[in-house]
């Protein structure tokens, strides 16, 4: 008995168990991240996962969703898009100014509301002096002469167009676009958000 115990502690089995458990955890994370990427659809720089929260998802999709978007709404309840890059693939940064241009009649169709929120790269809102942390269907956004709407995304006040300005964090940031009760054109994939265009 004592010999068995001595062998057990000398053999390194305990080390092996710890090693295996940590490797198993890291492998699980890698697999869930890979599945998460595989079920993410990206258009014009905006990424969304449409399959999360649905009963009937397989083990891998369930796990990938729990990791990427825990307890998220089903897509027909709320469509979520995120991006950390502009339309040309460059990382979003408070050192630049960006414009989101919705052509006339191309604001996202919905039966509830939509909103756009800048956050830090993890997803937390960052304090800004304007005390405005999102714009959406209830914001008094000015329309251009042709009926289109431009949203200005930059850290400092733009000087003009302040009505359509949303202050971004000063460093790298993430944009979250929510459409609750998305319309048919979003559900069937024909509607796409416009690119985030870097203005300067």
């Amino acid at each position: 008995m004592v010999n068995a115990f001595a062998w057990f502690s000398q053999s390194g089995i305990v080390q092996g168990l710890i090693l295996g458990a940590v490797l198993a955890f890291l492998t699980a994370i890698l697999i869930m991240n890979a599945v998460g990427r595989a079920i993410t659809t990206t258009a014009s720089g905006w990424s969304a996962i449409r399959r999360c929260g649905q009963p009937g998802n397989g083990v891998l999709v369930r796990a990938a969703c729990a990791k990427a978007l825990p307890v998220v709404n089903v897509f027909e309840e709320a469509a979520y898009w995120t991006t950390t890059v502009d339309g040309s693939g460059q990382t979003l940064s408070g050192g630049h100014g960006y414009v989101l241009h919705f052509p006339a009649g191309k604001l996202p169709p919905n039966d509830a509301f939509w909103s756009l929120t800048p956050t830090d790269v993890v997803g937390y809102m960052v304090t800004n002096p304007t005390n405005r942390y999102s714009v959406g269907d209830r914001s008094p956004l000015a329309r251009n002469a042709d009926g289109s709407v431009d949203i200005y995304l930059q850290h400092q006040a733009p000087g003009t167009h302040e009505q359509n300005w949303l202050s971004t964090p000063s460093g790298k940031f993430k944009l979250m676009f929510r459409v609750y009760l998305p319309g048919a054109a979003i559900l069937d994939g024909t509607y796409q958000l416009p690119r985030v265009v870097r203005a300067w």
Binding site: G16, V22, L23, A28, P55, L60, V71, F113, S134
Partner: protein, 217 residues
């Protein structure tokens, strides 16, 4: 904690792997046996990775369960079968690390943990008069949203919904709708639209009326 892991996940992983490499190197250099270590590690690795993936949704939802029942939403623990309405929308100052920290700032959140082991519960929703709202029921084993009450699924009128566990054989009172829960517990997340700052008290008064109560016999 979560935030740190998200931010420093890669360097942390690199450090852990470097420590492992060093431990293995020391064993080999010291002339100790490496085979038992390798076999034990391989077995645990091979069985553990699928186990983690299978259990991940359950671990995630139990994180919410623990947070709700032990800490609540800033006003103390929320007992089972009680829904707590958070009085404010999400903001940078609204307690980081709280359940709604990454939430939308146009919604009031309502949260609670449903436990049907002692019998069915009745979800009451007030008349929302066209206002967007939803109550999401999430299965703790799969992380799937098995039912919704709200504008999309049931409309915005007042209503009472009987949530029953698998195998419950009672009768549903007239005027109530039955929702079959696939498990005997569930995470409940409610959302109520806030139209504007001035609308906040009205939205909060409605959110507080979304409540659970035991089914009376």
């Amino acid at each position: 904690m979560n935030r740190l892991v998200l931010k420093y996940g890669r360097p942390l992983t690199a450090v852990i792997l470097a420590v492992f490499a060093w431990v293995i190197y020391r064993r080999i250099a010291g002339g100790d046996e490496i085979i038992p270590v390798a076999i034990a590690a391989a077995i645990v690795w091979g069985l553990g990775a699928p186990a983690f993936i299978y259990l991940w949704p359950r671990l995630t939802v139990s994180g919410y369960k623990r947070a709700i029942l032990k800490h609540g939403f800033g006003d103390g623990p929320v007992p089972v079968n009680t829904l707590h309405a958070v009085p404010n929308t999400s903001s940078p100052s609204a307690s980081r690390g709280s359940l709604m920290a990454t939430g939308a700032d146009d919604l009031l959140y309502v949260g609670g943990w449903l436990d049907l082991r002692k019998g069915p519960q009745v979800l009451h929703v007030p008349n929302m008069a066209g206002r967007y709202f939803s109550v999401q029921f999430t299965d703790p084993s799969k992380g799937a949203n098995f039912a919704y009450v709200g504008k999309r699924t049931t409309g915005t009128g007042a209503g009472d919904y009987v949530l029953s566990a698998p195998g419950w054989k009672g009768t549903v009172p007239n005027g109530m709708t039955q929702i079959f829960s696939p498990t005997d517990s569930a995470l409940v997340i409610g959302r109520v639209l806030v139209e504007s700052d001035g609308d906040l008290p009205i939205a909060y008064a409605l959110a507080k009326q979304i409540q659970l109560a035991p089914l009376k016999h």
